[in-house]
Symmetry: C2
């Protein structure tokens, strides 16, 4: 294991190289950054056999180390997955340039012409786990937005990541952009992550991609700003005015379409005045979902498993759902405020006044009316991709894509103005 | 002195009250928040004698403690200053509402209508020093943007701050808004600042207002996001094509209009091809500025004081200026990148191509062409006020006013959409 000083030295050196590369990227033409990613997509396709061989070595090592089925599945690549990685990079190449956009402009009474213009953030650190596709996805988004990126993937995927990283660098080189714009931390030493989290001034933003323990560690240790979400404890509130069939469809989709994603519903809130709460609970159960609730509830108490108090604060990421009956929209909002994680919450209601009451008051990154929480996704929101979903309150909230990987600067053009 | 636990308990209690108040403010009508500030301005005017008496007690205590002239001046209020504080609060009341604005909106192919809407950040902590006007200025901006605020002013101004805080609370009460929207930390214990900086989850954003040692402590210790600038090591680069008279006027204003503000020029970069560097140095010297430079420079070496290497990294905040001769715009940019603080940098040039080259490549929060760096101010930028100037790269850069005190949420209005 590297000692902390060696890790700091490594990250400082990578950070300095990244800063220099970032300055070049920041003034590179749109077409050059797009070309680098198109070329990188081609390079990934061309390197398919190399990438699969590297991945096979990772998988073999992981199996020997006794990795579980789900983790192995996240690690494993095949022809289709490599093609998907290349297609993802090509899709980012095709997105509109986020740089140079004028946010607003004005001419002051003294004639000074001011504008706020989108520029890159600078150097972004990505800390991730076993999915090798993040190497390409995250690098592509960072480069498209003019940023240099330092990637630190999971040790179990190191060979796969190296092979994909080499293809990304080939793309940069083919387009005449500096290779240091996309760097992969060469060591699998955990101390390197600590050095990245402490690299205030070298790295401008850290984005963790992975499970809750990774995100929690990053949030707890980082001295660098972090864009992330820890939990997705998402609610669907079914109001008394809800159309029963719409409520059933949304609840089923929000919970059961995919249970392991951060946008999945974890708690169902049913208004006491809703006509048929049993129907909703049974629909979930028939779909294979365990439903936990208060056994003393007259309507649903007999058909649910007893919930304990921790259930309301639990992100199951599984075919399990907690359900509570609430007295009206304000009680639903109070439950969400107390137990939610500020990710994605939804109301199902025909009453527009109640829906707008909920939309205005629910303080989550994403608030939906008559739609499934599983729409919480950059692609579904029309962003073309996403680097992650943020539940912090500054800079960017909800799905973060290219715009969230930029900042702005003020440019003032004068004719000799002095303040006097 | 309170022990850390007592401070944490105090801040946790204040934070919980602030969170509740923030929820009310977030949905309060524009007119109500504006009225609260208009009423607070009136209350400050009505309490003038009380405020001045409280301030006299602070000043007497500070004098007895041996406070210096500049610090006493920052602390001392008089009729005109109290009137100015009230006028500042009234001016914020008159600013347009930053909440509810739609940043962008789209309807997805599935019919889901998405929008990003400006909402408050939540609970903001202000840590400041001896200027009592910050109590009113910062509170007014936070409330206008729908946030609750926890104020922690300097111990030397505690009586003045209490009197001004009481008037702010009167304004809130008169408009029917919760008093807890503006809270003043009741203790002058330094441990309370530490508790605020550690209050992740209770306080959403910390803004330090004061000298460099305060800002440095906040940036070093905070577990809560911080909006601030540490230094304003600002440059004016005079290109060979610059009009000599315009360059003289801008250099003089940038350095000497006010030497103690963060937008003041600290280093003058003169192109070796500029016709008359001596004229610029002598203009500064005639205005009373000490000029430090390289004594071996053929043109200006004999008239400057010798600079040492630390001069290029020094924010003098005084009538002192470092000057360097550089070989062209890229050398100027390299000097700024190496020694600047990312605050405000300017070029004086008649050559538009060179100017745009500089504007595109200078990576500071504010970059100016043919204008004085002393325009770095929210009021001068048309923002109506400012809570401070930020040199971080996330969320907000340069002068921060109402928009920087908001965030956004995504609202989606559907008709039963499921992801399927």
């Amino acid at each position: 294991m590297l000692d902390p000083d060696a890790s700091s030295t490594l990250i400082a050196r990578m950070g300095a190289l990244a800063r220099t590369a970032a300055a070049t990227l920041a003034i590179s033409p749109d077409a050059q950054r797009a070309a680098a990613l198109s070329q990188a997509a081609e390079a990934i396709r061309a390197a398919r056999d190399t990438i699969l061989a590297a991945n096979a070595a990772d998988v073999a090592r992981a199996q020997a180390a006794g990795l579980s089925g789900a983790m192995l599945d996240r690690l494993r690549l095949d022809d289709a997955r490599v093609a998907g990685i290349a297609a993802g990079v090509a899709a980012v190449a095709a997105l509109p340039d986020p740089l140079g956009r004028v946010i607003d402009a004005s001419t002051r009474p003294n004639g000074l012409a001011l504008s706020r213009v989108r520029v890159p953030i600078g150097v972004i650190g990505i800390v991730y786990e076993s999915r090798p596709n993040v190497t390409a996805d995250a690098a592509a988004l960072c480069v498209r937005a003019g940023n240099a990126v330092i990637l630190r993937g999971g040790s179990e995927a190191i060979e796969s990541n190296r092979a994909i990283h080499a293809a990304m660098v080939d793309g940069l080189a083919a387009a005449g952009l500096p290779a240091d714009a996309v760097q992969l931390v060469p060591t699998t030493d955990r101390a390197a992550v600590g050095a990245m989290l402490a690299a205030d001034g070298l790295i401008d933003l850290i984005i963790p991609r992975g499970g809750k323990s990774l995100v929690a560690r990053v949030q707890a240790e980082a001295r660098v700003p972090v864009l992330a979400h820890l939990d997705g404890i998402n609610h669907v509130y079914v109001h008394a005015s809800a159309d029963a069939e719409m409520a059933r469809a949304i609840v089923l989709d929000a919970k059961m379409r995919r249970t392991g994603i951060c946008g999945a519903m974890e708690t169902l809130l049913i208004d006491r005045d809703f006509a048929d709460p049993v129907m909703l609970v049974e629909a979930l159960q028939h779909a294979g979902c365990e439903v936990r609730g208060d056994p003393v509830e007259a309507s649903i108490g007999e058909i649910v498993k007893p919930a304990d108090p921790t259930d309301w604060d639990t992100e199951y990421l599984d075919a399990i759902c907690s359900v509570a009956l609430v007295d009206g929209v304000d009680a639903a909002l109070a439950h969400v405020a107390r137990h939610g994680s500020g990710h994605t919450d939804a109301i199902v209601a025909a009453d527009e006044g109640v829906a707008e009451h909920f939309l205005a008051r629910c303080d989550s990154a994403i608030v939906l009316w008559n739609a499934s929480t599983q729409f919480a996704d950059g692609g579904e929101f029309g962003l073309g991709a996403e680097i992650g979903i943020a539940t912090g309150r500054l800079h960017a909230r909800g799905p973060v894509a290219l715009e969230g990987l930029t900042t702005y600067k003020w440019i003032g053009r004068g004719t000799g103005q002095v303040r006097g």
